[in-house]
Amino acid sequence: MQGQSNFKYEGQKLASWYFTVAMILFGAQLLLGLVAAIQFIYPSFLYGILDFSIARMIHINALVVWMVYAMIGAVYYLLPDETGIEVVGIGIAKLLFWILTLAVTVVVLVFIFIQVGAADIKTIWFITEGREYLEAPRWADIGIVVVVLGFLANTFLTAIKGRRTGIMTVILSDMIALAGLYLAGMFFTDNISMDQYWWWWVIHLWVEATWEVMVGALAAYALIRVVGANRKVVEMWLWIEVAMLFGSGILGLGHHYFWIGTPEYWWEIGALFSALEPLPLVGMFVHVLYDWGKENGFKEKAGEDTSSNNTPALLWLVSNGFGNFLGAGVWGFFHTLPQVNIYTHGTQFTAAHGHLAFFGAYATILIAMFYMAVQGKYGIKKLRATFASKMAIFLITFGVVGMGVALTIAGYEQVLIARAQLGATWDAFFIAQNQTWMAQAMDWRLIMGVVTTVGFFYLVKDLLSISKNPKNVY
């Protein structure tokens, strides 16, 4: 990397470490996603060496972990900015980073090389917990909780000592909720219904409540920094978003309790509250659009340059507004009513939604944060998009949307054949998998996955070299 680090604070330097690991894990996620996608087409690929279950497990665990890394990084990045002081206990914070990274490495190595264990509680403690997304063994769970507690302590002490802002208050309370919810996934039970009940507390209350609020807070920060929006107005809107997101998202949890053994009243609760879940997403979209336009209007009047001070970050921010609405909103609403969900539950539809939502709602805004860190690191006043920035955003978005469309078609076919007509048996499943539509959808998913991956390489290149762009040098 070129140039000297210009970070004003050690906390921001630490943030850049978190971002770096996040990018590496993002790469690993895509790589293993490609492996899994190839296995859909050529099932013998790596059969018995790195089976689909292992590839997929690493794919989605790397996804969650890179996003958690990026969120922690984002908090460390904005913490000194918001509070006006250095992160308290920065030495410990750095130590925790290394511990966490070491633990993640060990977990991944065990996933790859040991893979499965005997039906013994020891396996749960040391190899895999075997619950989708929460496969990390128990020792690692405990380690994660300890590290996160340390992280919370750092942030808390800094926030108390420094300037107190609305954004910090939201982030702090949200982080506590986020960490607390993780505990709901840390126990073993023989009762699979009970197991799934609490499993969704972690998964749903993360992605549809606490993470969304985190996105709201990061978007608020970015709007102030990148667009120059008025803090008071942005913070007020942030509180309204929190109310809408938690107001719909917490009880929207009901849309996962239709068929896991839980009582019928969840149909009504899940339908009502999750039908409201897209509303705050529309609100967030409108908000970004409005603030951007308004600030540009001000600048125009004043005869100033209307370009943003960080174009790539702004582009990713706008794609977050769209993507969140599309992936979580439209694709979520698609299958959220119980009458529809009984057919779509656990089909490629779900996978289509999972990809579009995680990407649109989270990947986008976290990448925007990466660009903000690059800007901060090299002290660039106006960061302009390069060819690579544009290729990255275009190819990644195009690739993921393409995968989403392919999976939606696959899901539709699966719903019609395996569910509505044949009744979800073993044979029904494979008959649907053998249809041409399904097979071609899987081919397209792989092709679009490759497109995404190419975009990812552009992104890496750009993050490493954008500071050298002559237009950015004064």
Binding site: W237, E264, L272, A275, F333, V415
Partner: protein
């Protein structure tokens, strides 16, 4: 606990595609509606376009109606959808009402 009676008719094969399409358009029309209201508030569009905005809201209602009927909703789902549509209609207005208030207060 008294167990309620639930009757859930099966969805006809040919109804699946219209169901998914209408579900998508509920939110897409909703986005147009909210987007146009926003553009008007930003003074990038003339006020007459409110007609267009409400037209999209109308389409949204139609899609919702279509969806709720085609999936054979229980009365409760119908109510939930009505609530959602009213929320849709009002949220952009409430939002800009609040924004103007807060801008009067915190800016200039």
């Amino acid at each position: 606990m008294i167990e309620p009676l639930y009757i859930r008719p099966v969805i006809a094969i040919n109804d699946f595609l219209p169901i998914f399409v209408s579900a998508a358009f509920i939110l897409i029309f909703g986005l147009f509606y909210a987007g146009i209201v926003t553009m008007i508030k930003m003074k990038k569009m003339k006020k007459v376009y409110y007609i267009l905005a409400y037209f999209f809201w109308g389409l949204q209602i139609y899609c919702t109606y279509f969806l709720t009927m085609t999936i054979h909703s229980q009365p409760f789902t119908v109510k939930a959808m009505i609530v959602a549509m009213i929320a849709y209609l009002s949220v952009p207005h409430i939002y800009f009402y609040l924004i103007t208030k807060s801008e009067q207060r915190y800016e200039n």
